[in-house]
Every structure is written in structure tokens, then in C-alpha cells.
């Protein structure tokens, strides 16, 4: 059964009982919340994901709860819990859904040491799999959102899960996090995209989450073998430019953008080496999304052999 088949009331009931269990491949996540607002967002943004029986094993148990006390009525806030333990600062209830998403990202990044977890978007089309690692503000999510509206499959907008033994990357095809100007840019670029109501946050500015394409969610269990690592960089008014990037520098960036490179020690080093060895490395500067899509449609000839 898909989330879309559940009524809003049932989502609310399951959430309030801590029994909403979703298959977010390669993980299973159980949600618990007394915050009604997130039921709507889960129902819309996770519409295509499978609901599992409450008896199934869950990798992560996450909760989002109102903070008790007088504040509950004056200026309501929510708190994220992982395995029953409070994690992170309280945030205004308007940020409930982004808080849940960020919390879930943290759960995966901090606990999934069976993978090398890299802060990167991953997209795939016809066997071309591109890893887009970048520090915040580089334009990774905007580019990723545009590409998945033009036929690319979304594996992940935020966390690439690199499997040590197979060299494949798993993604969870979860909602894409858009910030500030990129929200309107994507709305104009793809008027049919489904976004949450933007909310202002202290740490990231204006934030909205975009529903992942149904086709990507249906194929979420399929990992992909990365063959490109492209460092995206949005630069206002620049022409689209794809240039080779030093594999050694790319190695360092991947290590820096990995949440658990240090945890794996020598194996982490070998994993990044294996990943970079199997990929072509490039830097991509862009400002116009249509141009960017064109470049991505023929990466090999754009970069040269």
C-alpha cells in the first residue's frame, strides 16, 4: 500500500500511535508525531512510498513532538527525537516538516556506517549516473531538481550511500530541499512541481521541500554505479561550462563532504579512491537551467575524451 492510499485521518492516527512505517529504501523508518501539520506534508510528499505493517523491523524510529509548557500555546515549538532521545534544538512549529526531514537526514548520516555517506545529490539516466557533491549554497539541489523534471531519475538530493563492496550508490529518493531563490526558480522552471509552503528558518533562510517524481520513487530499490562526479556551481549570468576537474582534488572534496569518511579509516580512503577511479571528474558552472539540461544530455562530448 502507498501513502497516497491512506486518508489524512488514518495518517494522523498512525502518526499519533507511532505506527506509520515507511519503506524508505534501503531503510525502514517508523514515524511518531502529535503534530497534525506534518501529516499533510507526509501524505503529499511521500505519496508514492510504500507503507509497511507496524510489525516490520524499522531501522530508525523518529518522533516529532510539541514542546510542553506554556510555550505550547503562545509560540508552539516542536522537538525531534531519535530512538526516544531528544535531538537538536526546538524549532517553531511552522518548521515541523523541514525539522523532520533534517532529523531523518541526520539519522541516516550519523548511523549508516555500512555505507560511505556522502553529502551529494545523485541522478541517473540511461546508465549515466552523476554524483553532485557540493557545499551548501553551490546550487546542487536547484540543478538536481531541474534535471529530475527533465527525465533524470532522482536517487538522492542530499545523501549518497556508497556501498563498499559493489561500488554502487543507493539513494532514498526523498523530497528535494530547495532554499531561497531556488524555490521560485524551480516553480517557474517546472510549474507542475509539488512543493510545501515555504517557511523561513534561521539556519537556511527560506525553505521548501519538493515532492520526488513518482518514477524515481518506484525505482528507489535500484542502486546505480556512478560514472561521473560533477561539482556544480551556480554563478549568476555565467554561461554553462563543463570543465575537467582534478581527480585528486575531487577525492579531497568527496572525503570532506562525507559524513563518515573518518569513521572508516583506511577503508574510507580505499572507498573514495575506488569511487573516483570509476568516475570522470568535472566542474560545472551554470546559471541557466535549460542550458544546464542540454549540457547534461551529452556529458561525454561536452567534456571531450
Amino acid at each position: 500500500m502507498k501513502v497516497a492510499e491512506l486518508s489524512k485521518k488514518l495518517v494522523l492516527d498512525l502518526l499519533s500511535r507511532g505506527e506509520l512505517t515507511l519503506q524508505l529504501s534501503p531503510f525502514v523508518v517508523r514515524f511518531n508525531s502529535n503534530v497534525p501539520a506534518i501529516a499533510r506534508d507526509i501524505q503529499i510528499l511521500y505519496a508514492d512510498f510504500d507503507v509497511l505493517p507496524n510489525t516490520d523491523f524499522a531501522d530508525f524510529h523518529v518522533e516529532l513532538r510539541f514542546v510542553f509548557g506554556i510555550r505550547r500555546w503562545l509560540s508552539p515549538q516542536v522537538q525531534f527525537f531519535f530512538d526516544g532521545r531528544p535531538s537538536f534544538s526546538n524549532l517553531p512549529v511552522a518548521q515541523a516538516f523541514p525539522t523532520l526531514e533534517w532529523g531523518l537526514n541526520w539519522c541516516v548520516a550519523a548511523h549508516s556506517h555500512q555505507y560511505l555517506v556522502i553529502h551529494a545529490a545523485v541522478i541517473e539516466r540511461d546508465g549515466v549516473t552523476v554524483l553532485l557533491p557540493a557545499p551548501p549554497g553551490a546550487g546542487k539541489s536547484t540543478l538536481c531538481a531541474a534535471l529530475i523534471h527533465r527525465g533524470w531519475r532522482l536517487l538522492s538530493d542530499e545523501l549518497a550511500l556508497f556501498d563498499f563492496s559493489s561500488g554502487l550508490v543507493f539513494g532514498m529518493a526523498r523530497p528535494v530541499s530547495l532554499k531561497n531563490r531556488s524555490i521560485d526558480i524551480i516553480r517557474r522552471f517546472s510549474p507542475n512541481s509539488v512543493l510545501t509552503t515555504p517557511v523561513m528558518t534561521e539556519s537556511k533562510g527560506l525553505v521548501a521541500l519538493m515532492k520526488p517524481p513518482s518514477g524515481s520513487v518506484m525505482r528507489v530499490i535500484e542502486p546505480a554505479r556512478p560514472n561521473w562526479i560533477i561539482l556544480p556551481k551556480f554563478e549568476a549570468d555565467s554561461a554553462s561550462l563543463l570543465v575537467k576537474h582534478s581527480p585528486a582534488r575531487t577525492f579531497l572534496l568527496i572525503a570532506e563532504q562525507s559524513f563518515n569518511y573518518h569513521v572508516h579509516g583506511q577503508n574510507g580512503f580505499k572507498a573514495v579512491a575506488a569511487l573516483v577511479d570509476q568516475c570522470r571528474c568535472a566542474q560545472f558552472t551554470y546559471s541557466d537551467l535549460d542550458d544546464a539540461i542540454e549540457v547534461f544530455s551529452d556529458l561525454d562530448s561536452r567534456l571531450g575524451k
Partner: protein, 116 residues
């Protein structure tokens, strides 16, 4: 301590070995990787510290030479002369100074604290 007066050391090269100044490198404590595209850089992983370093190919070659027992300065100079044939002796010695100091500052080679 900067590498002391390299030019004068070059004069002593038959006598003074670098092992008087730096511990030799144990390569088993390191792992390294370079791309098949050979972009002139090597990534070096220090198994003891868990640190990852990026080195230029020349610096890496000097690092490897430091693993040899009693490597003499003239071997390093010769190696550098092969790679940088147009450089004069002073520039070469400065280059070696800086490279060894850099390797030491990264913790990849260790000074013995010996001073001339």
C-alpha cells in the same frame, strides 16, 4: 628548525646522511592513491593519525626516498635535478628545504631535533 644551510650540507653529502636530521619513513604506515589520469597529485593516507594529505608528485617522490635507509642528500638532489634540470643549485636546495619542512609539518616525516 629550518633545514640547515642546505648548500653546505651538499658539500658534506658523502658524510652526512639525512637520517641524521629526519627519521626514515615507514611506508607500511601509509597508503596512497593517484588517478590514472595522472594530474600530478597523490593522496596519502596516514594510517596512524587517520589524516589524508594531498602531495605534489615531486614531494611524494621525496617522501618515498625518505623511506630508504640512510638516504643521502645527494640522492635527493640528483632526483630533483632530473625533474627540474633548469634550476640552479640554490633553488634546488631551497626547494628541498621547503619540501622536507612541508612533509615534516604534515607529520609525514619526523625531525630528530639534530642541529648542525
Amino acid at each position: 628548525m629550518k633545514f640547515p644551510h642546505t648548500l653546505s650540507i651538499i658539500g658534506w653529502q658523502g658524510i652526512l646522511s639525512l637520517s641524521n636530521l629526519y627519521c626514515s619513513v615507514e611506508l607500511s604506515k601509509f597508503e596512497w592513491w593517484s588517478s590514472s589520469e595522472d594530474d600530478g597529485h597523490i593522496l596519502l593516507y596516514d594510517i596512524d593519525s587517520g589524516d589524508t594529505h594531498i602531495l605534489g608528485a615531486d614531494a611524494f617522490e621525496i617522501f618515498l626516498l625518505m623511506a630508504e635507509k640512510n638516504v643521502s642528500f645527494d640522492i635527493l638532489v640528483t632526483k630533483c635535478q632530473d625533474r627540474l634540470p633548469d634550476q640552479d643549485a640554490l633553488l634546488l636546495s631551497r626547494y628541498l628545504d621547503e619540501t622536507l619542512a612541508n612533509l615534516a609539518s604534515l607529520g609525514l616525516i619526523r625531525r630528530l631535533g639534530y642541529q648542525l
